[in-house]
Symmetry: none
DNA sequence: TATGAATGAGCTTTCATTCAT
DNA sequence: TATGAATGAAAGCTCATTCAT
């Protein structure tokens, strides 16, 4: 499921550098950045320790260069492929179907890149250099996309008159909560019913849990 | 708001040990466990570095002893005070009012102890010794309480016939999502409208965002 | 002869710090700064390697702190004791006797602290941070003293009408040349005839080597 | 002035090897041998780092091969050209003129090759392998030449009856002192008056600074 | 011949831990 | 009990040297 695959953009990135990045993602996600040893990354990457420092000035540098793969992984496919699916083709499909597919897309992207996402998200709590680009580049793009979707349906009269940003946040919130909970306590979730779970989440989001609400 | 106050249970815990724990919570939450230095904890606690090791065998030991304060902070008040409010007194109050109060209670508890919670939650991702007790002691108690609440309303016919555990998870999910989002991106939230935000979240949870649903 | 004795000013300098400084002077003078290993300094000082970095932030820091002992060794005794001997008491003594004693004083100071002097002089060729204080503090004081001596005798009509600074430089030059040559090629000099050698140097300086002079 | 020109003897020395030697002389003289990086030498020589090790087994090897250029630079011209000028043609010229020209010759040779000379001289203090050949080959030849000159004038009755070797040493000493001082403290010397300075030095050497000495 | 990516031994420096006081 | 100087194992990083191309 998680394959740390960051090779899609191996335009001219050297093989060894890619192996080091993959190894770093794995080790960072298991031990945390500060708890990781460059020696372990080297071993994991089947590379001499010195080689790491040919490609990255410092250990911290490895962490910071995870921003690029993360961005490429999320911005590119998410903003391009999904955005059109949602906003153009989606206009005729039922609202819950569209939302479910959107959340599933994001979820799959996150799950496929869980070690990378986990590492960047957690380390951004301790390293401003990581948080700032996320806030200024990644987050706005995701928000813009979702805001567009929400506004479209608000104007169409599908959604209640909540503040657009509140609805966006709530959608994000539910997905985020699911991701975190299901990662931390996988034994409470059945792996094979992920699609059903997301379907339920979308249903709650749209109709609420109250009996009688449609 | 966050005062790291763990002195409530200073039955016979020595003053210096408490100061070390408080300092550790502060430093751990700012730098992460591995990124924290015992020298900084000592300075923050106004204590000699050697003193730390009179009370804690190792640095890791400090981290592990955060479980006790966390448990005391959450299990005790939450299970005792709130549980009764919710299940007994709450039976006559409207369902959304009860839920809102419950979430606000939890939220306040979390915010008041954010550094402690942040540290234990994040470090539990890297240290089994921390995760296991959480899964086996803390989580079940919280789940039991919420499950009870959900079951009560399901039986009363207030809630749709979702799986109890799914509703519980969804409630947790939304709160967790809110906590994480509002901590990571405080600039997207207005600090003074926390209560309104929770109110909205509860409304969405109960009625959904779909127009026409009550 | 060379005892690396820098303890004279051990006002409150910790014993271990002194031992590290002494060891560093020894090792630096034998291997050069860059060729020296902190591990060897530690061993020489009978101290754990980590202890070095309790007293000095970096290895470079050790080098820079040699300036203080050097200054104390040279400025203090030289400027105070010798200056008066030379300029006051010396006024009645024959000019060559005074000069000979002055040069012998300096020479003994240099020889007694040869490793320290060698290290600072050579490393100042590669480290601006070392050269600047020497040029701005040490050198001017030495020059001022010698200039005073030279001027006194020029005014008295003892010396030819060379530029004062030229004579000063020439005196320094001859001593410097002797120190360097006798250090590099000790086998060309008889150790026990140092005083005779200096006497000859002073004679040449005053009377030249030309026959018939005097 | 200093052109590191060691190409005079490029009998069959490959171009790249020469470039490496020149680069090494430059870098060594600026950073010291141990403080120099082969990577920097390679860059300075416009050569791949690996190429260095095609021509020199080790970094140390580069240092040792500086002996040959140094010897060629000094022994050859100095012993051949100057020696005849001094001992043959010089016999009719005034003693101070000859000495002045000799010192100027040496001085120019030293200045033109300062980085090379500086490096070999300083590093010989830390590397026996460098010092021994200097002591056994270079020094004796220089001394023999000067001794011959001094003896010639002693026998002619021009010089006082000092030990020949003492006079030789004193001449070397004064020149050495001048070179070192003027290199370390160039601001104390006027560059354009080098010839005048040497003239003065020779005058002092011959006549002394005492007033009335001829 | 010349390259430069890769190496890994060894460097300086850090830091949790110990222990004499 | 509390200290903080001292420790030394282990960390990140450097750099002379190798070798496949």
């Amino acid at each position: 499921m998680t394959d740390n695959n960051i090779r899609e953009f191996d335009d001219e990135i050297p093989e060894k550098k890619l192996k080091i990045l993959e190894a770093a993602i794995k080790v960072f996600s298991e031990k945390g950045f500060e708890g990781s040893r460059t020696s372990e990354i080297a071993k994991e990457a089947n590379v001499a320790e010195g080689t790491i420092f040919k490609y990255f000035k410092t250990k911290k540098d490895i962490l910071l260069s995870l921003l690029l793969p993360l961005t490429l992984k999320f911005i590119k496919p998410f903003a391009m492929k999904s955005a059109e699916k949602i906003l153009n083709k989606g206009k005729d499909e039922p609202v819950d179907e569209v939302l479910k597919n959107l959340l599933l897309d994001i979820l799959h992207l996150v799950k496929k890149n869980m070690p990378l996402v986990k590492t960047v998200v957690i380390e951004s709590l301790y390293h401003e250099e990581l948080l700032v680009p996320i806030k200024e580049k990644l987050a706005p793009q995701v928000l813009e996309l979702l805001d567009g979707y929400v506004n479209y349906h608000k104007e169409k009269g599908d959604f209640k008159d909540y503040d657009t940003r509140f609805i966006t946040r709530t959608i994000m919130s539910m997905l985020l909560g699911y991701v975190v909970l299901s990662s931390a306590f996988p034994e409470f979730f059945s792996l094979d019913e992920e699609e059903k779970e997301i379907e339920n989440i979308v249903n709650v989001l749209i109709n609420g849990i109250k009996n009688g609400g449609v």
